[in-house]
């Protein structure tokens, strides 16, 4: 048995060696030079006349763009993916969509795959604001431009060709204003369901807190008191759990700010179970369809809405400008708009 195992090992080693050798040979023979003149007809110039012309890229197929979504479980990223696919195709690019499901290792693997496929450009929503750094650096080392969208990557020593995101801090301020609008003069206790892994959400909370602090300044009566802030994971289940605990701890809770719609809906379910939907006002964030529907149904008071479609469209525009060598904004932050029940009633997409 021992001998066989040893043979097995040798077998594997030989295989790896073979895998090594073959591409080397292939590469050596294939290297050639191709010349493309202004008229666009390609001519092969070297001795080896049989080899195919090198620049014969069809005009329609200009290359591929790789997109690694943060989590397709969230409709926000589905909208980005759909818009990217459409606009990329219109520009003659094929778009490869990968779903990281929130896992940084999966996202790193996606980027490695894109690099090996020699894509023209990479678009990603970093799973968190740091971990994507080393993968982006590898893409940089291969000369592939990386465009981020939604979450910004703040790792050091990397080069981002362009970023399109939401003005999250501004959006957070809008959310704060909405909260002040409701709680107004009488004030009350407010709970925040956050998601500190995503920088965008950290900024939303920052903007929200700034408005609340401004409201409380020089005020004795009607203060809005932030009683807690817990990680809702940006998803319904954890949003539900932290909200359930928050209501138990603060039975007189008056308001709740959720940093995105999925966790906001989880929070709503928790309020429903506690029978406190009347007492607690939810201000959420995102404004994709389920969130807007919740506003129409009176579950949420308002959402600063983001525009994932615009984000995707802007990203493809940036890629095209980059390839043309045109100037474009390296960082674009799209402003949000506050969306209330009046807007929802007019929204044709909702039931």
């Amino acid at each position: 048995m021992e001998k066989r195992q040893f043979q097995r090992l040798m077998f594997a080693i030989v295989l790896i060696a073979i895998g090594w050798g073959i591409p080397g040979c292939g590469g050596g023979n294939g290297v050639d030079v191709s010349v493309s003149s202004t008229e666009g007809d390609a001519t092969t110039s070297d001795a080896d006349a049989e080899s195919a012309p090198g620049t014969s890229t069809p005009a329609k197929q200009r290359g591929t763009i790789g997109y690694s979504a943060m989590d397709m479980g969230n409709p926000f990223f589905q909208i980005i993916a759909d818009n990217l696919t459409r606009d990329a195709a219109a520009a003659g690019f094929e778009l490869i969509v990968e779903n990281a499901g929130g896992d940084v290792k999966a996202q790193a693997e996606h980027l490695d795959g894109f690099i090996d496929k020699q894509v023209t450009a990479i678009v990603l929503n970093p799973c968190d604001r740091l971990s994507a750094g080393p993968s982006i650096k590898r893409a940089n080392q291969q000369g592939i431009p990386v465009f981020t969208c939604d979450t910004q990557c703040v790792a050091e020593g990397i080069e981002i060709a362009g970023h399109v995101g939401t003005d999250n801090e501004g959006g957070g301020e809008l959310a704060g204003q909405a909260m002040v609008e409701v709680l107004g003069e009488q004030g009350g206790k407010v709970f925040i369901v956050d998601y500190p892994s995503a920088n965008s959400c950290v900024l939303r909370v920052k903007g929200f807190r700034a408005v609340i602090d401004a409201h409380n300044k020089d005020r004795q009566e009607g203060r809005i008191e932030i009683v807690g802030q817990q990680d809702g994971g940006g998803e319904p289940n954890l949003g539900f759990s932290v909200t359930t605990a928050a209501i138990q701890a603060n039975p007189d809770l008056a308001g709740l700010f959720a940093i995105n719609d999925p966790s906001g809906l989880g929070a709503y379910t928790a309020l429903e179970q506690a029978g406190k939907t009347e007492q607690v006002t939810i201000v959420s964030f995102d404004g994709h369809k389920e969130g807007r529907q919740a506003i129409k149904d009176g579950k949420f008071y308002a959402d600063p809405i983001q525009f994932p479609d615009k984000m995707a469209i802007q990203t493809i525009e940036n890629i095209l400008k980059y390839l043309k060598g045109d100037e474009f904004e390296k960082v674009t932050l799209l402003p949000t708009a506050l969306y209330r029940k009046v807007d929802a009633d007019r929204d044709p997409e909702l039931e």
Binding site: R4, Q5, R8, F11, I16, G19, P23, G24, G26, G27, N29, G30, V31, D32, V33, V35, S36, S37, T38, E39, S45, D46, S51, G54, T55, R62, G63, E98, D103, V104, K105, A108, H110, D112, G113, D116, K117, Q118, D128, L130, S131, P134, N140, Q141, Q142, G143, I144, P145, A155, E159, P196, S197, D231, G233, Y322, L323, K324, G325, D326, E327
Partner: protein, 452 residues
């Protein structure tokens, strides 16, 4: 058919054969244009320019990649040795190239050739239409011809760079799967490894951050930090083993508990779910470096560990004891085997390797997250099962686990290369695991479909 399946060749080499088939399949499915940006390609380009009868002006344009930069430099040096002239070198993006053209056009310089590579050749500026437009704006540029290394056709999967990528992606699962194999061979299971990976990552990241302070930490302090993280996980693993043997609590439940405990500890250490940053270049080098033959360090570590584990399992008393304990604990005990010690060793080893995995993970991403490595335990168990280790204990091979991990790695990578949709990927993965368990069962029944 049955004879073939029962033959020793198939039962010993079957899994390698499956791995090879998968590689062959994905090689065929990923045949694509390969674009060399090698020194060899640079020499060809230089030879081509040198062969021009009249003196030519050459502009070199490449993106900012590492190989591209080398390529551009080689081309420049090569051309300058001859009569031809390099009027400019652009290592950058299309915008910089436009600036360069504008400069040359304004200076009235002629550009006969633009030497570039596959990616830059697709920039609008260098496409025929773009060049015509340039020429119209700056007639002095003349008719610009683009010269680039020819592409050749070869499977993307079967390039050394890609194979290394696959091996590197398998390393984390592969390393932890060694420990899991030992645990499963003792007829146990360890569900806590995913959480332990996260815990170890967070511990090492926090320690490196603390110890380093402002200055870059030394190698010794890095090793110490890593050892602390690994020991913490080994201790938790040993704890699982102790509970599972001394109190005869089912390992499934014990490790389910430890899984939550470790996750909680990770959040405590990290102070929440915020990512913990590691700002040490040397620490990053542990995972990102490729000191030996260009093979990534994690792959080297994985291979060395497999070699050591193979020797341990097949050539040492401890290995023999692990198998015996899994096969029949009572017979082992009555033969004088210290059963409890052996089982605790397996769990401690599994914990330690999960800890090592966490350290490598934190080093690779320069960050650690308390919520990271979620659900990895199942991937790791899947690798062990696909590798032919029986969940009933007592049987299995460490090298089989390596093959199992590689099979899963190749499938996931291959599906990504061939643009298989995420939902389909999940279905394929699930099916692979179910088939692996079925094959194991059928093998133990000598390939009889019906019992009896």
């Amino acid at each position: 058919m049955k004879k073939l399946l029962q033959s020793p060749f198939v039962s010993n080499y079957g899994m390698i054969f499956v791995l090879l088939l998968l590689c062959a399949y994905f090689s065929l499915a990923t045949i694509d244009q390969q674009n060399p940006v090698t020194p060899q390609a640079a020499r060809k380009i230089v030879a081509f320019i040198a062969a021009q009868p009249t003196v030519k002006n050459v502009l070199v344009v490449v993106p900012r990649g590492v190989e591209d930069r080398r390529f551009a430099e080689a081309v420049r040096q090569g051309i300058e040795q001859g009569p031809h002239k390099v009027v400019g070198v652009v290592v950058g993006d299309p915008a910089m190239t436009r600036v360069e053209f504008v400069r040359l056009g304004a200076a009235g310089t002629t550009v006969d050739f633009v030497v570039t590579q596959y990616a830059a050749a697709k920039w609008d500026l260098l496409l025929p239409a773009g060049r015509q437009k340039l020429q119209q704006e700056y007639p002095s540029l003349g008719a610009i011809d683009v010269v680039k290394p020819n592409s050749y056709t070869w499977p993307t999967f079967l390039t050394p760079q890609h194979l290394l990528t696959v091996a590197n992606q398998t390393a984390l699962t592969g390393i932890v799967a060694i420990g899991m194999t030992m645990v499963i061979i003792t007829a146990g299971i360890d569900l806590s490894v995913g959480s332990l990976i996260a815990l170890s990552g967070v511990v090492v990241a926090t320690l490196v951050g603390r110890m380093a302070g402002e200055s870059d930490p030394t190698l010794v302090s890095l090793i110490l930090c890593g050892m602390v993280a690994v020991s913490v996980c080994a201790l938790l693993g040993a704890g699982s083993g102790l509970l599972a043997t001394w109190f005869e609590v089912p390992a499934f439940i014990v490790t389910l508990g430890v899984m939550q405990i470790a996750r909680g500890l990770a959040h405590k250490v990290a102070g929440g779910s915020k990512p913990v940053r590691v700002d040490s270049e040397m620490f990053h080098e542990l995972s990102a470096g490729n000191a030996i033959l260009g093979i990534p360090n994690p792959v080297i570590v994985m291979l060395l560990l497999y070699l050591a584990a193979h020797v341990l399992m097949s050539r040492t008393t401890l290995g023999r004891y692990l198998y015996a304990v899994g096969g029949n604990p009572e017979a082992a005990r009555l033969s004088g085997v210290p059963v409890k010690v052996v089982v605790v060793f397996a769990y401690a080893m599994c914990g330690a390797l999960a800890g090592l995995g966490g350290v490598l993970d934190a080093s690779l991403f320069r960050t650690a997250r308390a919520s990271g490595a979620m659900g990895y335990e199942l991937q790791i168990i899947a690798a062990v099962v696909v590798g032919g280790t029986s969940l009933a204990g007592g049987q299995g091979k460490v090298l089989g686990t390596l093959i199992g991990a590689l099979i899963l790695g190749v499938i996931s990578d291959g599906m990504r290369l061939t643009d298989v949709a995420y939902d389909t990927q999940l279905i394929v993965f699930g099916s692979v695991i179910v088939v692996a368990v079925l094959v194991d069962k059928l093998k133990s029944r000598d390939w009889r479909m019906l019992r009896g």
